[in-house]
């Protein structure tokens, strides 16, 4: 038997240089304090900007893919389509679109006004490839951004526009002149249709083959710099201060799939600029930038644009999308394509109404409002603010319950004098101070003494803006619910003292 001893030395380390104290070498730390009369918890950075907060509160909104592809049956037009091909059989009706969206429980909508084919649905000065050369009077009188914005305002809904950075029609695409003379000018024109736009959508599909003014070649660009996003954001925000620039725009991220789900663990912080690939569903707990996720999904079965013979998904399927996106700290933009008449098909509208009905029925009556709420700890109150449990069911998103700074775990217990039938519990962190909760569990009691853990198979990890937990563990089966006298949430781990502004039970 042979023994070999191979001693391994430690890696060399540098000699630690002594760190001067707080008042040496000509530089003194200045004592600084901030008054905190309300004993508010410190932010857990990163935190959302004001516009990101407003955007997040939109929660659920519609996507309307309408344009040249509606009349060609394509999903990605090549860019050589004749303008006369765009020929609606009636005046396009964005008000009808948004009425249906409102009935579906949505708070807003995004209209596609230029897709990759480059055809603009408004009379832009930047290119002749627009509606003014459409195939009939309906086409030539179309101005989707104008009419969409007007309809949204009339219906009290939020609105925004999708404009494709990639333009397969433009001869200038791939050159600097495309960005300065076409794309940025188009964005500026769209910004003029309303200073209260809530989102501008920038598709990540970029570069490839196309018509390009007759060149019919392949063009690629470095999409990290080509569109000069920082300066685009700067100029759009001067006109539309609350407009979140989605996707390539860098203020909200793509959730990473088009299947209508976000990760059960879903952090809003992300390492913008160097996030891992395929991380959209999850975010990064240590992300440096607040970059919440938006899930885009198709509500019909053939494509983003209208296709003959398509049919909408069922309301139940869409309700599942809702639970797996809005219910997992993401927003949901659900696509309903208008048909060749420029209106939503009847079948689509019917499903949208059904969906709205489901949302009202299943998530419309908050049982927590009548519950008594007790907690394991209440943060010491301040001069004008307290952090008491009833802040969680007072209907005010600006009040919240919190523990003291050193406490990272806690329980929140809701009880009812008489049993209620519960399917879901929804938690909402006060994300203005950052996202904190890492893990929790949910239990219920039917008799007030014996507790049973619920949500089998569900990863009860992050909460964020909103987390909806199905007590039966299923986002697909509504089930019969549970007759309960009590519901207990135990926060098992949190980055900092947990803050909840609302707890709802449905």
């Amino acid at each position: 038997m042979i023994k070999k001893l191979i001693p391994w030395a430690l890696f060399l380390t540098g000699v630690a240089m002594p760190m001067p104290g707080t008042a040496q070498n000509g530089f003194a730390l200045k004592p600084q304090t901030l008054a905190n009369p309300d004993n508010e918890p410190a932010e857990e950075h990163p935190v959302p900007s004001e516009r990101q907060m407003k955007w997040q509160e939109t929660e659920f909104y519609a996507f309307f893919h309408y344009g040249m592809n509606t009349y060609t049956g394509q999903e990605w037009g090549y860019g050589n389509e004749a303008e006369s091909t765009f020929a609606p059989t009636a005046a396009p009706n964005p008000e009808q679109w948004l009425e249906a969206a409102k009935a579906a429980g949505m708070r807003g909508g995004i209209a596609v006004v230029k897709h990759h084919d480059g055809f603009c649905l408004w009379p832009t000065a930047t290119t002749t490839h627009n509606v003014t050369r459409g195939g009939n009077d309906f086409a030539r009188n179309t101005n989707i951004p104008r009419d969409f914005a007007a309809a949204a305002k009339k219906l009290g809904m939020k609105y925004g526009f999708y404009i494709s950075p990639w333009d397969r029609n433009s001869a200038l695409y791939g050159t600097d002149k495309y960005v300065s003379d076409v794309f940025l000018r188009q964005c500026a024109e769209l910004a003029q249709y309303g200073t209260d736009q809530f989102e501008m959508w920038f598709d990540g599909a970029n570069g490839g083959d196309g018509y390009y003014g007759g060149a019919n070649d392949r063009r690629s660009i470095d999409n990290t710099v080509y569109y000069d996003i920082p300066n685009l954001r700067d100029s759009v925000h001067k006109v539309c201060p609350d407009c979140v620039m989605w996707g390539v725009g860098g203020e909200a991220r793509w959730i990473g799939n088009e299947a209508g789900w976000a990760g059960e663990t879903n952090w809003s912080p992300e390492n913008r600029g160097f996030a891992p690939e395929k991380n959209g569903m999850y975010g990064s707990e240590d992300g440096w930038y607040w970059l919440p996720g938006e899930s885009d999904a198709k509500a019909t079965n053939k494509g983003w644009f209208y296709h003959d013979g398509e049919s909408p998904r069922t309301a139940e399927q869409l309700f599942t999308f809702y639970l797996e996106t809005v219910g997992r700290n993401a927003t949901l933009i659900l696509n309903f394509p208008p048909d060749k008449s420029g209106a939503l098909p009847e079948a689509t509208v019917n499903v949208m109404h059904e969906l709205g009905g489901l949302l009202k029925q299943r998530l419309g009556r908050d049982l927590a409002k009548k519950a008594k709420i007790e907690v394991s700890e209440v943060r010491t109150k301040g001069k004008r603010r307290s952090y008491v449990p009833k802040n969680m069911n007072d209907g005010d998103k600006d009040t919240y319950w919190a523990t003291n700074d050193s406490t990272r775990t806690a329980t929140v217990t809701l009880t009812w004098r008489k049993p209620v039938n519960a399917h879901y519990v929804a938690l909402q962190e006060y994300i203005r101070k950052g996202q904190r909760i890492r893990a929790f569990k949910v239990e219920t009691t039917a008799d007030g003494t014996e507790w049973t853990e619920r949500a089998p198979g569900v990863e009860c990890t992050t909460v964020g803006y909103k987390r909806i937990i199905p007590l039966n563990g299923s986002t697909k089966e509504y089930g019969d619910g549970y007759a309960i006298k009590g519901l207990r949430i135990t926060i098992l781990d949190s980055k900092a003292c947990p803050l909840l502004h609302t707890v709802s039970v449905y």
Binding site: K3, K4, H45, D234
Partner: protein
């Protein structure tokens, strides 16, 4: 013939390129200093309560020699000191307004900043650029243009050169730089702390000006290659007579870009001519061979102006043409000579596959760097030896002799050949075997800059016959010291086979 020096040394004074100025804080080579926070509600910005940042230029108190690199990393007279306030966000930093703006171009450039921060400031460092588009007269010069985390880690309590790759759409002028020394949530900070900055330079070089550690890499040593189909499968050294020393690398799905294989040992004598061979499947790459001739923990690369390698360089050779891809032989590099004046010893040798970069640490450019171009690095040991090994014994209570009874005092045994010894215990003693230490520098550290110099192996008594044992040839690989494990005869019954 002039020689370009490309040396991985502790401190470089890099010339300022294209930008036209650097910021040294020695003179008024900046317009103003302050603090900045990207968090709009920061008390240092638009928050309900206001705080003033604490930033000033001071005399540099940190000019001691760094023991690890043997030089003073930053001997300048003045530096910028800032107070990292726990009331700022994770993007709070020192703001330096420039005398002259520089353009943010489509080509990646690198901003270098010397940073020194304490242990409580551990975490990422970030650079934020403030500026505007040239043609937008009305645009504020404070529009945020980029946010970049450094490509290298900044370690505590020592000067580091943080490197930030930056690029933009072009036509953008940067008026201010914000160095965020602690890009982490400040919530856990109990106190503010001081951070020091200096020597801000913009250039085209991704290599940090201060590098510590042995045989540094321009990437994390655990980085896995993401390029399928571009694999380094094996390496070899051939002699002009056709003999080949070959090593195969493991076939794994995701292999590390860097592999330290101290078990791969090449043998050569001073003056030997060797031809390196790369068994590599990718296209468009070149092979490089480095040798740390003076065992100082780094590869000092020099090149002639015409791209040839001078005799003194620690870059021994490289392929001038790029590989053609799978199925084609990797282009042969010119042969190289093992320096004739090299003393016997173990030396670190590096095989590198890379794209257009003689940097032994790997192409560090953001575009097409070694972490994305399919490159690979393998470090092995080169055993430079003579024809014989010096064999000595180190014994008490007996002696170890040659088979024919000669003493082992600077005994010259043929290198690489089996060597038979005989045990000669003193009266009243027997032996439990031998311990053999073999390699070089047997009295010193077994690791020199992380390169293994010698090993110990024990051969227990049961391997001996008639008190004789033949040491395998692979152990006779340099200096050899044999220690007889002599024990009292009466203790043999209880002796353990283990030493």
């Amino acid at each position: 013939m002039k020689k370009k020096i490309y040396a991985v040394v502790a401190v470089l004074s890099l010339p300022v390129m294209a930008w036209g100025q650097s910021v040294t804080f020695e003179t008024d080579d900046y317009r103003s200093i302050g603090v900045y926070d990207t968090w709009e509600k920061s008390p240092f910005r638009n928050g309900a309560q206001k705080l003033e940042g604490n930033v000033m230029v001071i005399e540099n108190p940190f000019t001691s020699v760094d023991a690890q690199i043997g030089k003073t990393p930053n001997a300048t007279g003045h530096i910028l000191a800032m107070q990292r306030s726990r009331f700022g966000s994770n993007t709070f930093g020192a703001r330096i307004d420039l005398n002259t703006p520089f353009e943010l171009t489509k080509q990646t450039r690198y901003v270098h900043v010397y940073i020194r921060k304490p242990q409580e400031g551990q975490g990422r460092v970030m650079l934020v650029g403030l500026g505007k588009r040239r043609e937008r007269a009305a645009q504020s010069k404070e529009a945020e243009q980029f946010w970049v985390v450094s490509t290298n880690a900044v370690t505590a309590d020592e000067w580091c050169d943080a490197v930030f790759p930056i690029k933009g759409a072009g036509g953008i002028d940067i008026y201010s730089l914000v160095v965020v020394p602690h890009c982490e949530s400040p919530r856990g900070l109990k106190e503010d702390f001081a951070v020091y900055l200096d020597e801000i330079v913009v250039n085209d070089d991704p290599t940090p000006r201060i590098r510590r550690g042995d045989y540094v890499l321009n990437f994390d040593a655990n980085t896995v290659s993401r390029r399928q189909g571009m694999k380094l499968k094996g390496i070899a050294l051939e002699s002009v007579s056709g003999q080949s020393q070959q090593w195969q690398l493991p076939e794994v799905q995701a292999s590390k870009i860097y592999q330290l294989r101290q078990d791969f040992v090449a043998h050569a004598q001073p003056g030997d001519t060797l031809i390196p061979v790369f068994d590599y499947t990718g296209k468009g790459m070149q092979g490089y061979i480095y040798l740390d001739r003076n065992n100082d923990g780094r590869f000092d690369v020099t090149l002639n102006d015409d791209g040839t390698v001078p005799g003194s360089s620690e870059l021994l050779t490289y392929t001038s043409t790029e590989s053609a891809g799978s199925g084609q032989s990797f282009p042969k590099a010119p042969d190289f000579m093992v320096p004739a004046d090299l003393a016997p010893g173990f030396y670190r040798m590096r095989f590198k596959v890379d794209k257009q970069s003689t940097d032994p640490a790997g192409n560090g450019h953001e575009n097409n760097g070694i972490t994305s171009n399919g490159g690979a690095i393998v470090d092995i040991r080169l055993n430079v030896h003579g024809a014989y090994c010096n064999v000595n014994d180190a014994n008490r209570n007996g002696e170890v002799l040659t088979a024919d009874g000669q003493r082992l005092v600077k005994y010259q045994a043929p290198f690489g050949k089996p060597f038979t010894i005989r045990m000669n215990p003193e009266k009243g003693f027997t032996h439990a075997g031998i311990r053999v230490r073999h390699g070089y520098g047997l009295a010193g550290d077994s690791l020199v800059h992380g390169t293994l110099q010698y090993s110990d192996v024990i051969y227990p008594a049961e391997l001996f016959k008639d008190n004789c044992f033949t040491i395998p040839g692979e152990v006779m690989d340099g200096d050899v010291e044999i220690e007889g494990l002599f024990v009292e005869e009466k203790s043999v019954a209880g002796a353990s086979k283990e030493d």
